[in-house]
């Protein structure tokens, strides 16, 4: 069992001249391609019993966070369209004012004591997940003059193989900052648009919250093993 290489055009380059933090952190040498072994095709087993799920960031200690409550939902499949059950999603984001509950975030925007900005959910047997949160705010960063990150939510995915491990960001439709953002624009055209969630009336709950759909695709495994077992 193995996973084929990441197809060209799917991932951003490590060296992104428009994103200053990549300059001294991207390796100069190409990575060494290795055949997948048990080390890469197995993965940590995360279960809600050992890693409790909490799917509602709109409340903290029983009190409602400030801002626009929204529902995010989606399905995780692989490159061949197979649903990915049991994926653990770790989710984190800024609050409605664009401030992270984080010691190093010094943006002059208010913290919300009722917003922790962190959730953990699992996909069901069909690959579906959902959570409730607050629409985050845009925030400034120091990458270039007057740089602001588009509104986004960070997602970390743990699949069935360590080679599938993925951290990505979800964006919102119609955000004027998208065309100015080096991190979003660093993803090749055709792939980057898929990082934008879609407003979805079926995810929206009447008298409660707007809903957005964000589907994600993990690497698919090769049907034929790379090495013949003996």
């Amino acid at each position: 069992m193995s996973y084929p290489p990441i197809p060209a055009g799917a991932f951003p380059p490590m060296d992104l001249p428009s994103y200053g933090s990549t300059h001294k952190r991207h390796p100069d040498q190409p990575p060494v391609r290795i055949p997948h072994t048990l080390t890469e095709t197995s993965a940590p087993r995360f279960t809600p019993a050992a890693y409790p799920a909490h799917a509602d960031m709109s409340r903290h200690n029983g009190r409602a966070a400030m801002g626009e409550r929204i529902i995010l939902a989606g399905r995780i499949t692989d490159e061949d369209g197979r649903p990915q059950p049991g994926v653990m999603l770790e989710v984190w984001q800024a609050n409605a004012a664009g401030r992270y509950h984080h010691a190093r975030d010094q943006h002059d925007a208010p913290l919300d004591p009722n917003f922790s900005g962190q959730a953990r959910v699992f996909t069901d047997a069909e690959g579906h997940w959902s959570l409730t949160t607050i629409r985050p705010g845009a925030y400034p960063w120091r990458n270039h003059h007057n740089a602001w990150r588009p509104v986004h939510v960070h997602f970390g995915l743990h699949g069935a193989g360590f080679a599938q491990r993925l951290i990505t960001q979800m964006y919102f439709p119609g955000d004027p900052l998208l065309e100015l953002d080096p991190i979003y624009q660093g993803v090749p055209a055709g792939a980057r648009e898929r990082l934008i969630a879609k407003f979805d009336l079926d995810v929206t709950k009447p008298e409660y919250a707007l809903g957005y759909r964000f589907d994600m695709v993990l690497r698919g495994r090769l049907a034929t093993p790379m090495e013949n077992p003996t």
Partner: protein, 179 residues
């Protein structure tokens, strides 16, 4: 067929998903409490192309148990934030040899994944144990140019304490693996 979803940087605020106890896989009350094996400490420092410490990196650890099996009685996952000096520190049990391609046997190794601001995709490397006889026949180490193989060898710094520094760029750059 559809393309895999694009990777994006974890950014500087990923600590919202940091649970510092995950850096100790042997912790009391944790998933491996009571599992027998050789307890080891694995430390290292993450530096950039200027040799400056990366103080906001997330290191994930993935390994087999002392018996060489994955997720069969030993939960081999850990996570650690680098500190102001770029250092990480895991406590775990030394993994056993793991079956490799064909009839081969992989030397005991720990996979490390590095996430950080400025990394558009996480980097993957392995920590092997210096002077381990099985290293000589390890099928993955054999794919790494000999001159750079040392960047994958954790060195003993005290009994039960191994260290492997990670250099993201430049001279003595760590060998990263395309998995």
């Amino acid at each position: 067929m559809s393309l895999p979803t694009a990777s994006q940087t974890a950014g500087p605020y990923w600590h919202l998903i940091d649970f510092p106890e995950w850096a100790d896989l042997t912790r009391a009350g944790g998933p491996n409490a009571g599992v027998a094996g050789e307890r080891i400490i694995l430390t290292g420092t993450v530096t950039d192309g200027d040799g400056a410490p990366c103080a906001d990196a997330m290191i994930e650890l993935w390994q087999a148990g002392p018996d060489g099996a994955y997720e069969a009685g030993f939960h081999g996952f850990g996570r650690c934030a680098t500190d102001e000096a770029g250092r990480f520190r895991f406590a775990t049990l030394k993994p056993g040899p793991v079956p490799g391609p064909g009839n081969s046997l992989q030397a005991p190794h720990i996979t490390l994944a590095i996430f950080a601001r400025g990394l558009m995709h996480h980097l993957t490397t392995r920590a092997y144990f210096a002077a381990e006889p099985l290293n000589e026949a390890d099928p993955i180490l054999a794919l790494v140019p000999e001159a750079r193989r040392g960047t994958l060898l954790a060195q003993p710094v005290a009994p039960g304490h191994w260290n492997l520094d990670i250099r993201l760029q430049g001279a003595d750059e760590t060998v990263f693996l395309d998995i």
